[in-house]
Symmetry: C2
Subunit: 208 residues, 2 copies
């Protein structure tokens, strides 16, 4: 079975690959995200996902048959929210999301070594947050779930107490749109349905 | 901290209680579900959730401060799908869901010992399945994810490869609408935000 190089250090994407039973190895692609100046979330994430794949492709000789990269952002009021750097930044993000609907965009790039192409696709999901008071915001920040995730919250964690509606796929919010990814693998001739499955689980966050 | 009696044997609801850090113990309420003849999914699940709580309330003396029960069904084409009894029944359900939108309804009942009332609430979520061919259906049935769940699929498992959209809360589909449950606890004066959190995770299915 052909392994896939996962050009992402995200533990959640790794857990999704395990859930899917895909044989894979991780080469976390360090790219300078500040070089991307798109203000459109689809264009920005597509560009970043593609750059991650190109970075790995550039570094490996001979090229592997499959390389996959992805990028996720949260967007609200024409702003793009990445990962908060500290608790104060996370607090600002959660205050902005509180009581409002926002959009999560995840883009994917798949290098297909047989066709020598990089197939790029996007998926999005809208998420509606309840109105939170300051004690709820502080309680949520205390969980530390805001660390390392775009928008400062995790749908698969305690943030689900405050999310009253989503429209799209939950996996898009977590960082890998599974339906779109499955179709992408199928369209590219990856023999996914013959993959042996491992004991695996939906990404979940062990609270620290 | 006041413990909650969870009147449900569902491992997924137990995992949600762990995620929430709620102190709880399980008393699986064995009720005769065939006595409920409602054809409306909200009425049916509300009645079943309430009966589970009443069963535990009847059996315990003195009554505990909090008892919680829930019930989930899948509904499509005016039919209610419960848990498939075998692979053939699961295959029929998946064929019916394939290419269509269906609704998942989860109802909850909470006994509040201070007020001596049972508060009952429902939540629903629509789910859109892609069109599956027979080899995809067989592949999915081979995962055994259909066992023990309403409608024969698990959103938190590999079925997410075939689910192109949901509208509502993913936790409603998994069996406990977390936002509605949080609001219900708050409305009933349960001091949830002061609960100490444990190391826990979003319900996930270890594939056998």
């Amino acid at each position: 079975m052909e392994p896939v190089i996962l050009a992402s250090g995200s533990p959640r994407r790794q857990e999704f690959f395990k859930l899917l039973g895909l044989p894979f190895s991780v080469i976390s692609a360090d790219i300078d995200e500040s070089l991307c100046t798109h203000t459109d979330p689809e264009k920005l994430t597509l560009e970043l996902a593609k750059r991650k794949v190109e970075k790995v492709l550039h570094d490996l000789n001979p090229p592997p048959p499959w390389i996959f990269g992805a990028d996720t952002v949260v967007t609200i009021n024409n702003k793009i929210l990445g990962k908060p750097e500290n608790r104060n930044e996370a607090a600002e993000m959660i205050r902005e999301l509180s009581g409002c609907q926002h959009k999560v965009v995840t883009s994917m790039a798949l290098y297909n070594g047989r066709k020598k192409i990089i197939d790029c696709r996007s998926a999005s999901c809208t998420v509606l947050f309840s109105s939170l008071n300051e004690s709820e915001i502080n309680w949520y920040l205390d969980t530390n779930e805001w660390q390392g995730v775009a928008g400062g919250y995790r749908l698969q964690g305690l943030a689900s107490c405050f999310i009253s509606n989503i429209s799209g796929s939950p996996s898009t919010v977590v960082g890998l749109p599974l339906n779109e990814f499955y179709v992408m693998l199928k369209d590219n001739g990856y023999p996914y349905l013959t993959v042996g499955r491992l004991d695996a689980e939906f990404p979940s966050d062990h609270l620290k």
